[in-house]
Amino acid sequence: MSELQAVDANISTAAPADDLEAPPKSLWRQLEPTVLGVGSIVALLALWEALPYLVTFAPGTKLFFTTPSQIAGTLWTMFATGTIWAPLSVSASGFALGLGLAIVVGLPLGVLIGRSPTLNAMLDPFITAFNATPRLVFLPLVLLWFGLGLWSKVVIVFIGALFPLLINTYEGVRNSDKLLINVVRSFGAKEWDIARLVVVPNAMPYIVAGLRLAIGRAVLGVVVAEFFGSEDGLGVMMVQAAGQYKVAVVFAGLIVFAGLSLVMTGLVQLLEQRLTRWRPQHAAEY
C-alpha cells in the first residue's frame, strides 16, 4: 500500500435536518407590500368619504356624488331586504350559460385547431378578425336576432368569452411537448389518447389563463348586454339608477359585478391548484 492512505473523514457534527427553517426576514420587510397595498386602498376610501367635508360641490355635481358609506349602506339594504337576488340571478344565469357554452365550444375547438394545421389555416382569418373586433359591435344584430332578454345576453357573453378561451387553448396545444407526444405515440396512442394524455394536461396553465380572461369578458358582456338589451338584471338596475341619480346604486352594482368576477376567478384558482398538484413548489426565495 502506498503512503497515501485514504482517510475516512469522520464528520461527527449532526447533519442539519431537511426542514431547516428559512432565515427570518425583518418583519417590516415582510409586511411592507401588504401594509402599503391595503393602506393605499383604505386611504383612498377615507379620502373619498371625507371629501364632502373638505370641499363644497356645485349643486349639479353634488347630485352625482356618493360616499363609500352610502354605497355600503345601499349594498347592505339590497342584501338584507333581498331586492338584489332577483336581478342578480337574472344576470348570473346569463353569465353562467354564456360562459359554459364558451367553454364547451372553445376548449375542443382550440384543441382541434392546435392539432390540425389545415383547420388552423382555414379558421385563422376568422379567429384573428373576430378576436381583434370588440364583439360589442354585434350587439344590435344579436338583439335583432334574439330579442330582448336572456338569449341575446347569453350570445353576447358567449362570443365575448369564446375567443380568449379558444386562443389560449390553441396556444397551449401548440406548445405541447413534442417529446411527450412521441412517447405516447410510441406506445400506440391514437389522436384521442394524445389529446387526453399529453396535450390537454400540458395546455392546462394556458387554459386556466384563458378562463381567467374569459371570466372578465363574460362579466363585461353581461353588463353591456343588460345596458342595451334587457328588461331586468343588475345592468338594467344600474342604468335606471343612473337616470334617477341614485349613484350609490350604480356603485353597488359595480361592486356586485366585481364580486362575481372575483368569486369566479377564485374558483378557477382552486381548480388550478387541484389540477396542478404535480408541479414543483417553488422553494422560498429571497
Partner: protein, 256 residues
C-alpha cells in the same frame, strides 16, 4: 435467413417548412441479431435518433425496407419500446402511473397493471417512490422510470437514445451496470445510441459507427470481451485498443 431486424437502403429526408430539405438517412443498412446488444455511435446530427424513430414507427421513411421478425415496420407496436434521452416522463403522473402508461394504452386491466409496475419498480430499484412525481426525482431516478416504463410492456426490442447522456458521470457508470444486469435478466434485443465510445464498448456485442449526415453504417466492430463484464475491464489494453480503433473510424466523420 434474414436478420432479426433488417434494414435495407432506408432513406429519409426531412422537409421542414420554409427551409431547405435535410437528408437524414441515405442508403442505411442494418442487421441486428436476436438478443443482441448493438450500440450505434456517430457524429451529432448524423441521423441516429432519426433511425431509432423510424424503427419505433414514429417516422415513415421515404423509401427502403425495414423489417423486424420478417414483417415490415408499419407504425408503433408493443414489440418495440424506446428509452428517451430527455426521459420523456409525463410530469403530471406519478412514477407508478408513468410506468403503467404503455399498459394503459394496451388496455391492460388495472389489477394486472399494478402488479407489473410493482415488479419493474423493484427491478429498477425505485421501491418507495411509487407516488413521487418526476420533478421530485433525480436524473438517474427519472431514467430508471423511463427504463421501467419501456420494459413494462414487455417489448422484444429496447431502443435507447443516448439514455444516460443527461446524467452525471458517476450515475452513468452505475446505470450502465444496472442496464447490463437488467439486460441479462430480461433478455431483450437492445439498440443503444451513445456518444461515448467507452460506454458502447462496455455494454455491447457489436458497435456500429455511422458516417456524418446523411447517415448510414460506416464500420461495424464486434466486441469480443467476455461477459459478465466488470468495471475494471475498462482499463485493459484490449479495451483501449478497441476504443482507439473506433475513435479512428469516428473522427473522420466529425466536423465542427
Amino acid at each position: 435467413m434474414p436478420a432479426y431486424i433488417q434494414g435495407r437502403n432506408v432513406n429519409l429526408t426531412f422537409r421542414p417548412p420554409n427551409r431547405g430539405p435535410v437528408r437524414a438517412l441515405y442508403g442505411f443498412d442494418i442487421d441486428v441479431n436476436e438478443g443482441e446488444f448493438l450500440s450505434i455511435v456517430g457524429p451529432s446530427g448524423c441521423g441516429k435518433s432519426t433511425f431509432l424513430n423510424v424503427l419505433l414507427g414514429l417516422i415513415r421513411p421515404d423509401s427502403g425496407d425495414l423489417r423486424m421478425h420478417g414483417k415490415p415496420i408499419a407504425g408503433p407496436g408493443t414489440d418495440r419500446a424506446m428509452v428517451f434521452q430527455e426521459f420523456g416522463l409525463l410530469p403530471w403522473r406519478s412514477v407508478q402511473h408513468n410506468i403503467e402508461l404503455g399498459l394503459e394504452l394496451k388496455g391492460v386491466p388495472t389489477e394486472t397493471r399494478h402488479n407489473v409496475s410493482q415488479h419493474f419498480i423493484e427491478m429498477v430499484g425505485l421501491s418507495g417512490f411509487e407516488g413521487h412525481f418526476p420533478h421530485e426525482l433525480s436524473g438517474g431516478m427519472k431514467q430508471r422510470v423511463g427504463l421501467a416504463r419501456a420494459l413494462a410492456t414487455d417489448p422484444d426490442v429496447l431502443l435507447m437514445d443516448e439514455p444516460f447522456a443527461a446524467l452525471d458521470a458517476q450515475t452513468r457508470d452505475l446505470m450502465q451496470v444496472e442496464l447490463l444486469r437488467i439486460w441479462q435478466e430480461a433478455r431483450k434485443t437492445v439498440l443503444f445510441v451513445t456518444h461515448q465510445i467507452d460506454e458502447a464498448i462496455y455494454l455491447s456485442d457489436r458497435v456500429m459507427v455511422m458516417t456524418k449526415r446523411p447517415g448510414h453504417a460506416k464500420k461495424i466492430f464486434p466486441i469480443e470481451l467476455p461477459r459478465p463484464r466488470d468495471y475494471e475491464m475498462r482499463v485493459t489494453p484490449e479495451f483501449n485498443d478497441l476504443k482507439l480503433e473506433i475513435w479512428h473510424a469516428l473522427k473522420d466523420e466529425i466536423t465542427i
